[in-house]
Amino acid sequence: MILVFRLGFLAFLLLLWALAAQQMGGNVVPSPKATYLAAGRMLGEGRLIRALGDSLTVFLSGYALAIAVGVPMGILMGGFRVLGKTLEVYVYALAATPRVAFIPLIIVMLGLGVEAKMFIVFLGALMPVLINTYAGVLAADDELIEMAQSVGAGRMRVFRRIVLPGAVPFVIVGMRLGATIGLINTVVAELYTSVKGLGGLLAIYGNTFRMAEYFVVVLMLSLIGVVVTESLRYLEQRASRWRIVK
């Protein structure tokens, strides 16, 4: 049912798009058809796929690194209160600083290549993952912890069987936020460092006013966003099967 509504809305959006193209002219807003044809051309040249591959490599490796670092660090900070209390101020400060501010520094340190791009993505995705994991560990249910203690569980077992599973929904929310920011940072990185990937195409087509191709790239980015967040939503549902499904 919801799928029908979604497709209906998609048709509505396409209509709006077509109208906008008609009103403003194909040089500003390309028609859906022109965009479709451009997509065919770009796919034929192999250019789109190559750019997609570059971008995904940057995004996925930076994002994976953010999870690999953010989750354990959040767990450690939540598990050892002194560590958490010590570091949290700095984590929040870093999270509040616009990450773009670090880009010149990163370029100086890592150059313009893949490493620099990965690091920019990593830095963006890390904070939501880390902060949410930390919050999830801290949000542990004191009543359940006391119950586990009464059953004879020591600190380690309370942590493993009550605190960590309780934090899972928080971690997944953090991963979802991290994915969005990571995707944004992928494009930002490709615009600010060596021009490559989808972000690179965006710059090239935008600067040369090839709007049909430009639109193809934008749509591609939205598509990646949808695929990534939907897979995480699926993961979230899998992880919380125990909630009442209405």
């Binding site: 359940l144 006391e146 059953v151 599973p165 309780g166 099967r241 909630r243």
Partner: protein, 291 residues
Amino acid sequence: MHRSDDGPDGRPVSVTGGRNPEAGIVFDAVGKSFAATRGATPISAIKDVSLTIGAEQFVAVLGPSGCGKTTLLRLADGLIQPDAGSIRIFGNPPQPGPDIGFVFQSFRLIPWATVAQNVEFGLMDLDLTKAERADRVAQNIDLVGLSRAADAYPATLSGGMRQRVALARALAPDPRVLLMDEPFASIDAQTRELMQGELMRIWAQRKSTVMFVTHSVDEAILLADQIVLLAPRPGRVVEVVNVDLERPRWTFDARAEPRFMELRRHLAEQMRKLVLADPSSEFFGRDFVPH
């Protein structure tokens, strides 16, 4: 008639007798204070509580809200330590684990675990083979009549069913001591009566030493060998009442017995006095005419 060994000044009151004179749970001049916030002056939650619960006895702890009932149970389980006095469970200091079962005021089920997994959680500290473990789980789920819901998640269960799971979890390790904190307070009246009957049946079968907290006078009389009446702020023992009603009590209408009514009248009057004398109660100082 009921015994009033001691008044509200709270000097040692002993509760022995019944089927087995061996001491199961002993509180000796126990005191515990809490600070509401860190650094605030601690307020005395219970003060100078002495009582002895015989092995295999069912003792109800009765008292108005805030008189330290939950605190007594947490002390008896070893979840918190007293500031003064000492506690012994069959001669040893309390140690949380499979020897002491705890049924909490709120059910405290693990939401991401099934009924069977929740019950199995109670066995965590026991050295059992996989088969023995599964056996115990099935047996205790059966005991509380939930076999058909073994694979359900807590969120899909009614309040009564959740409390049964909590009961099965506490019973699974076959503890010598069972601590129960108003386990039926949040269950509807019909279910409560059925659960009370079931608890009596299980207790007769398992022969554990039970400390059962309630603020229902009827429930206390219906279930217990002895009733310990607590006064609030600070929590202290006011009176210990022997319930000399025949068992089993759930097979006939015990409430209609003259002795039951006598006990109820006495305990209800005592509870009323305690509430009226409590400065932090909204009924403080009012003088209700006894009915």
